[in-house]
Symmetry: C2
Subunit: 423 residues, 2 copies
């Protein structure tokens, strides 16, 4: 490349506790290679920022602010749920991206997201070449759902996993103390509509026989009310209480989400609560036990205060590796996490072709779920355990974590043409 | 006292992240005074353990296990929600307590709980004297609700306060990144059925203009839908999103809990969710914004992993002080936390008569809530801020906090008589 090209970085889809650590890895590594790479422009609100020529000049941020991204949850530049259609369906979007990139002398495209985003990065790479504007496109893996293929795990997942395991352990300690005369059933609802990775992570808290959670309800396993009730009763009988982790994606035999199969309001709308209150109420109505329930929702994926150190390190490493791969001339690739040893846990960064990642969903293997369908196996524990290892506390001031909010200075527009989003 | 007397310690009511730190303070201080005090017996499942002569011999626990109580949430000996009636209504219960204490040579009664428990401790002191078995009764303050009078604050509250402030800050960072195309409204439901102390603590996260939470809904303020919607719309307009902390105890103009005034299922039962989904759905139906909501429930009061160091220190200190007060011959008293300076924050241990504490509820002053009823005042912030200060992380192993489970060895019964509980 004769001319030093700029880079574009965008965050995509649901954010995580550590996606900014990847941004930090990308930006710090680019800054270390100023001889080869120009400025890093970030998309304001993700890919939408590229489509609307709404770019953020990250060079306006201090080294200190960029470093603070490593311990700041959420997406510092904004993210979006905006899936580009297929090349045939809406080629205009891809052409627009290339047009904007060209206008801003962008030669590197770093896209930080899940399967859809890796697909987009792949297509941009194809189309750029086709349009005579070859770009170096590198995906940066991210998803709390842990559903990307090839990479051993996904940055973002380990911290949710740790949050869920810590939370169910703590709440269960609480319930155990109260169970004699009060709450006997505790239900924690966690994310994971299609795969049970996050619910499974709750199982890490159960290290000894009798430890909570006593039951995990997976989206992979059809809800069997009778077997479930027997299991609840068994836990109450043996341990005095029952702690349950339930995935939001649990379905009944008809394939309907339990959260939606529950009661309806006076207007026939599905009731407002999630699946946790449905499960709790079911236990109450059948077995009569007093219950409490919690819905962690965004708290779980934003909980940077209890992030996994392994996860933070890996998130940073894939951001760094993305830039290094690009500078070495790799195109249409994604850095991966490769587990080289399980005990002691060791990992390194590898890479794979985007074509292999795009739109492939990694499901949880059936042998990660116990035979009765209510717990995790040793194999699962062995896989998950290293991912929650280590703490990486953010700095605190006045008792609160100090997260950075960037200045997010806009790059002057060069095209100034409107582009209509498909929203 | 001619004979060295044993001590009885019990945990009462809802447990907290730091009530075991108070237990640690009581037991370690008693152990340091073995010349004056015998064994510490704990009530299994609180006062029920005394009534049923189900005592735990804490002398069977190692120094290390007792020390670990300082960083273990929940009630290590079990707690209960069992309120003794008035002396006139059920004198038999008090007589039974004295009978059990006498049988086990117990001369000290340490009762770790809220207003009801202080009342019980007070009555035991009165009745013991009346029955010719004078005991030294000392209350140990505890309640996440922060509603005990005289003491500046209650151990247990600071850690919930920190959890809520940290959680709403983190979730709001998440929502802010997604708001452009996705979730614009986030609602976090917190505890506090009668007083808004916990909800108010969420306000600590809002340090700069525009910071979340943008709205707090207090049980002290009648829900005004119109004013609320205007406030939501204003936040969305100015900041792109709106983060809300809602107390479970918010009521409408008719005095009905919003959580119960919501939709009903096909059988006419109040819907299962809490108030968070009601608020979220209301905003959706009126303003059309996409929402997410979380219900923290027990997670907030069990979250030892993010406990306030101030809170842990104070919880330990009141346990220690309770024993010291008893050994100095004080009876029917409770150690208190006295704020001696606000900036820098300094506190010391004081004490008060149980008669002054029993059954008095400390409400949140109206001047702690902003004029519009949706936020906290500077005065409130100044009071709350020191209480969440400092972190006091538990030790971790395999990525999980290491909380202790005691052996809880039973003391051999001496009475062996049945006692029927009022449950």
């Amino acid at each position: 490349m004769a001319k030093k090209m700029n880079a574009f970085y965008a965050q995509s889809g649901g954010v995580t506790a550590v996606i900014n650590a990847s941004a930090c890895g990308v930006i710090e590594t680019a800054r270390k290679n100023k001889d080869k790479i120009g400025k890093v422009y970030a998309g304001r609100n993700g890919i939408i920022g590229a489509l609307t020529e709404d770019l953020i000049d990250t060079s306006k941020e201090s080294a200190r602010a960029i470093a603070a991204l490593r311990h700041t949850p959420s997406g510092a530049f904004g993210s979006c749920r905006y899936k580009l259609k297929g090349l045939e369906e809406n080629k205009a979007e891809y052409e627009r991206l290339i047009e904007v990139f060209k206008a801003h002398n962008i030669g590197y495209f770093f896209y930080n997201g899940g399967g859809d985003s890796q697909d987009t990065a792949h297509k941009v790479s194809q189309l750029g070449r086709e349009m005579g504007y070859p770009m170096t496109c590198v995906g940066v893996p991210k998803t709390v759902d842990n559903d990307l293929p090839i990479t051993d795990n996904c940055p973002g997942f380990g911290s949710v996993a740790k949050y869920v395991a810590v939370s169910i352990r703590e709440a269960a300690f609480d319930v155990a103390s109260m169970a004699k005369t009060s709450t006997k059933i505790f239900v924690l609802e966690v994310m994971g509509r299609h795969a049970g990775w996050i619910a499974a992570a709750g199982g890490l808290a159960a290290e000894e026989k009798g430890d909570a959670p006593h039951i995990i309800l997976f989206p992979e396993i059809v809800f069997d009310e009778q077997a479930f009730m027997a299991k609840v009763q068994n836990a109450v009988k043996n341990y005095g209480y029952c702690a349950i982790v339930v995935s939001e994606g649990v379905r009944n035999a008809e394939g309907v989400f339990l959260a939606e199969a529950g009661s309806r309001d006076a207007f026939g709308h599905a009731q407002l609560g999630g699946v946790a209150p449905v499960i709790a109420q079911l236990v109450k109505s059948k077995l009569g036990h007093k219950y409490h329930w919690a819905v962690a929702d965004y708290l779980q994926r934003a909980a940077r205060h209890i992030a996994s150190k392994t996860d933070v390190n890996q998130a940073y490493a894939v951001g760094k590796a993305a830039v290094e791969l690009a500078l070495k001339g790799n195109n249409a690739v994604m850095p991966t996490i490769v587990r080289t040893s399980n005990k002691p846990y060791r990992w390194k960064i590898g890479s794979t072709k985007l074509a292999k990642v795009a739109n492939v969903e990694k499901m949880m293997p059936r042998n990660f779920i116990s035979k009765d369908g209510f717990g995790i196996t040793k194999r699962c524990r062995s896989y998950l355990q290293p991912l929650i290892k280590g703490e990486d506390y953010p700095p605190y001031k006045n008792g609160l974590p100090q997260y950075v909010t960037l200045k997010n200075v806009s790059v002057a527009k060069k095209l100034n043409t409107e582009f209509e989003l498909n929203v």
